[in-house]
Symmetry: C2
Subunit: 393 residues, 2 copies
């Protein structure tokens, strides 16, 4: 990676998000429209002020179409402006943000809309899980083993428990924390506070992961408006700048990995993002990380450098990732309880960080937060995106 001294700065100037959950009231494009409208209202722009869009919808099987991004772009009134769609399973939203950032940093566009959306509940749950599983390698993993995402993360959990003594109760604590904050977040899918006992008693999905260790299947959309610095300052008094962007990749198949106690691509993406921002993990005031399963958040603490390798279980036990802790993580409820509409997830993470850095997170506000981080993962760490945002005000 080469970091240029004179890179054009890019800021988020507007952000919108829909209620996540079972949205029988809205189709995929209607969810997208709802988020876009909110992002425009957030900064006082009209759709005609936007130069281009980048759309993220992760799964064509769930969408039952192969150009859902084009349908959304048309429905929100963006024609004839340029648009394209990014697809990287659960990391699609961050890929779209990365592309939109590049389109502005390059000087090609000044104001770009990012839309992430997914409609997952139109089909029944087993079918949705099968379609999500299609992110795996059909020849070498998916068809021979029939493995699902829960099965993959169960292997991570078992490896972590075996090597570091992490306990099922520590995994459960992640769910307890994230449900607590989801209950305080108006857009959350799951709004019920739970206890460790609730998690431990919930139905086993794939040992040691139980139902309450897993994120739900959610509909939802989120939208961001990005602008070059010059325009950003005219649009808003509170531009939230991208300080660093890191991305990295790993094998799709888990059997090719050397280690199952963490995600190499997270460590590599974080290294790149920290280097570009010129900061380290200790500088992060608030983070939204990819907790598709509880073990994923524990691995993220470690791989992002919030604690030492193997100490993620202790990290949640000591409540360090709570709102009052030294490193608040997923105080929006996370994928675990806010919800995980695949294509929207990465965009919704930046939405939360923008609200936090603007001081608009209400009862969930991390006091004085100036620098935030998002961490978005496709499947089992195949693609990982880390983004660091910060404010001057």
């Amino acid at each position: 990676m080469t970091v240029r001294a004179k890179m054009r700065r890019v800021a988020v100037v507007g952000a919108g998000i829909t209620k996540y959950g079972k949205r029988t009231d809205a189709s995929l494009k209607e969810l997208a429209f709802e988020a876009v409208k909110k992002s425009l209202m957030d900064c006082g722009l009209e759709i005609s002020d936007i130069d281009a869009s980048v759309i993220s919808v992760a799964n064509q099987y769930l969408a039952q179409q192969t150009q859902p991004g084009a349908i959304i772009n048309s429905y929100i009134g963006m024609c004839p402006k340029p648009s394209f769609t990014t697809v990287d399973a659960c990391g699609s939203g961050s890929a779209a943000i990365r592309a939109a950032w590049m389109s502005i940093a390059s000087g090609l566009h000044d104001v770009v809309l990012v839309v992430g959306a997914e409609k997952m509940t139109e089909i029944d749950t087993p079918q949705a899980i099968e379609y999500m599983g299609f992110a795996g390698d059909p020849l070498w993993e998916l068809r021979p083993t029939g493995i699902t995402d829960a099965g993959l993360y169960a292997m991570f959990a078992n490896a972590h428990m075996e090597k570091y003594g992490t306990t099922q109760e520590q995994l459960a604590l992640v769910a307890v924390k994230n449900h607590k904050y989801a209950a305080m977040n108006p857009i959350s899918h799951l709004k019920k506070e739970i206890t460790v006992e609730d998690v431990m008693k919930s139905k086993m999905v794939s040992y040691p992961l139980k139902l309450f260790d897993c994120s739900p299947i959610s509909d939802g959309a989120a939208a961001l408006i990005l602008a070059c610095e010059e325009r950003a300052k005219k649009i808003t008094e509170k531009p939230v700048y991208f300080l660093g962007l890191g991305a990295a990749t790993d094998t799709v198949t888990i059997f090719e990995r050397e280690d199952l106690t963490g995600l190499m691509a997270t460590r590599e993406a974080a290294k790149r993002a920290y280097a570009m921002a010129g900061i380290g993990p200790s500088d992060i005031d608030v983070a939204d990380v990819h907790d598709c399963f509880t073990i994923a958040e524990i691995m993220a603490y470690e791989d992002l450098g919030f604690c030492k390798k193997g100490e993620g279980g202790k990290f949640i036990e000591e409540k360090r990732s709570y709102l009052e802790g030294d490193k608040p993580v997923n105080v929006d409820g996370g994928l675990k309880a806010k919800g995980h509409p695949l294509g929207a997830t990465g965009v919704g993470m930046v939405y939360e960080i923008v609200k936090q850095l603007r001081g608009e997170a209400g009862p969930r506000q991390v006091k004085g937060a100036k620098i935030g981080l998002t961490h978005n993962v496709s499947r089992d760490g195949t693609h990982v995106f880390v983004q660091i945002l910060g404010v001057d005000f």
Copy 2:
């Protein structure tokens, strides 16, 4: 669109392509590997010299997986470098090129690999056509009408014939030309020269389009290596620079269009690309345009400004788009006869223009070509990408 005076220049330094056609010998990722290897050999780089990749695979149903880009990125040896995947139906490859261009122009990366690939013949033809049709709007067009791509372009053809007197024989002449050049191109899917009579006698698919008016269903892959100017000059003596990039969008549903005799998004994308390059249609020495059906090439002549609206039929009749004409178009055989592996198509177009501008196109060489254009369309003109390339040497 804002064009910056100090945009970082980006060049194609390496290009590779596989044989297009029914490739029972290779899987999707193996096709991609073949193209990537050729692109690296073309410029003497190793995969370790590449900073990041952008992958294009258009159709998850054809790929039978939802992260084919990740599987390709891993298989070609790119891990842990950054990567993401673009998806815009038949325009996916150009979206990937656009994203890769932005990643370099922004200063984020210096050397980026673009890979486009599609494996379409593993399933039978009716099923493949159904899956391609999924690019339509399922609610408002696809399911109520069952329309296929041939049906859409048949409507364009009928409108053009009705309004401008374009004849079926003129449509056939496009196929005759493109088969002629495909027969001279070693990587082509269809290598048989044909006559107007052959086209007219071929099986009716959707009036007035007959079998020989349609592009085939092909497997194939193409790869490009893009670099910033400073690196490009060190890598090759023949860098091929991007002079202009234009993109535009239209509705997915055809019933919302005002006019069916051309593609609004082509005109808009071309306008943007010409403006950025600071040139006009008369400056183009050679072009690869999106001739998924013969009528599409005739509309492209007009919408790209190579001739006046309604004169596309006469344009081919006068052989102006032949190698010896004043505006050679698709002298590689086009989608029509070289083949149309969806995700590879836009990348393969730039491969051809690079060969032409370097003077390496052999018997199909357009003499003295210095400026070339590619024109890549998703479905019925929903997304259109126009790219203009040029050389200094």
